[in-house]
């Protein structure tokens, strides 16, 4: 069972350039794998993703000159897009399908209410998110104070 949630109301364009800033970048000269570490911030259009460590994975496995297929962020990830923010232990952002899968006690806050679960799949293009696994939600009903 999963809770559908609107995520980042505005239309996200996955062909925008991806900017990554970090303290350190290691590129393995044999496999071509690039690993950013040290408060990494990934930005694309409206979406901002902060993590301790981000690995860049290429299409076609180890080929280093292929397109970048996925960013694999680990070590505590915070994703902000529009008014929503989501936190989790790990996140995988597939650039081609502009889909972010966050796993590991995910907490999603939208304005007043919060939603927590084990896995959140965000589709940036359609601006929707599906939260799965022991979803708990807290609605603050402002009781007219």
């Amino acid at each position: 069972q999963g809770a559908n949630v609107a995520f980042g109301a505005l239309k996200h364009d996955s062909s925008l350039p991806v900017e990554i800033a970090a303290d350190q970048l290691q590129i393995n000269q044999e496999t071509g794998k690039a690993v950013f570490s040290g408060n990494v911030e990934v930005g694309q259009g409206e979406m901002r993703l902060a993590a301790a460590r981000v690995e860049v994975e290429y299409e076609g496995g180890e080929s280093s000159t292929g397109k970048v297929q996925r960013l694999h962020a680990t070590g505590g990830v915070t994703l902000v897009s529009g008014a929503e923010a989501a936190e989790a232990r790990e996140a995988v952002y597939t650039i081609g399908s502009s889909e972010i899968v966050m796993t590991g006690d995910v907490l999603l806050t939208q304005g007043q209410n919060a939603l927590s679960g084990q896995k959140l799949v965000v589709d940036l293009d359609k601006g929707t998110g599906v939260m799965e696994g022991r979803v708990r939600t807290i609605f603050r009903s402002d009781s007219g104070n």
Binding site: S15, A21, G32, T65
Partner: protein
């Protein structure tokens, strides 16, 4: 001059007068019209300071090559090199091109305008705009690079700019060192900013 009845004889007699005159005129151009040779003007020669050349030894197209401890073949070529008078094992060279081939087959090309190679210290400092191309297709430009000669260790203390498959990036400093499991790690430090534009398919 006798008179002949046919034109051919007349032509021949006329030729007997005209041709010698033409020959005489031709001969005179050899002496009268020729440029005067001025013995006092010396032969033109390059005005390089000859004794400077003699005092300072200079190697042209030097080539340093060796194998580093971890088995990478390194060779540095330059257009000209001058030994440092103070320190015998230091050589300052211009227009260097370095070539590093690691055991796993990756080749690194370095090129720079000027540089110093110190074989005793086992270090080559390349400056004046250095360009490095790595086997994974990254082209790194920096203004100063130090390359160790004994082991594979290319380092740029200053800021670098790199263009490669993961996008264009600039970083505070860069270091290429062999990692423990045998292959080589290109590490960019203190502040990395990368921009990757996904190719629109």
């Amino acid at each position: 001059m006798s008179v002949y009845d046919n034109s051919y004889s007349r032509f021949v007699s006329l030729a007997k007068i005209v041709l010698p005159l033409a020959a005489l005129a031709l001969l005179s151009t050899l002496f009268l019209v020729a440029r005067t040779v001025d013995p006092s003007r010396s032969i033109p020669f390059a005005d390089v300071d000859v004794n400077e050349l003699a005092r300072e030894q200079r190697i042209s197209a030097p080539n340093y090559s060796g194998v580093t401890r971890d088995g990478a073949a390194i060779s540095i070529k330059a257009s000209s090199a001058r030994p440092d008078p103070a320190n015998r094992s230091r050589v300052s060279a211009t227009d260097l091109r370095g070539h590093l081939e690691t055991p796993d087959g990756g080749t690194y090309e370095l090129s720079s305008l000027s540089g110093e190679i110190d074989t005793k210290a086992g270090l080559a400092v390349l400056d004046g705009g250095v360009i490095i191309t790595t086997p994974t297709g990254y082209q790194v430009t920096s203004d100063q690079i130090t390359t160790a000669l004994e082991q594979t260790d290319i380092e740029s203390p200053g800021p670098v700019k790199a263009v490669g498959p993961a996008g264009t990036l600039d970083a505070g400093s860069m270091k290429l060192t062999p990692s423990d499991d045998g292959n080589y790690l290109l590490v960019f430090n203190n502040g990395v900013k990368l921009v990757y534009t996904p190719p629109s398919e």
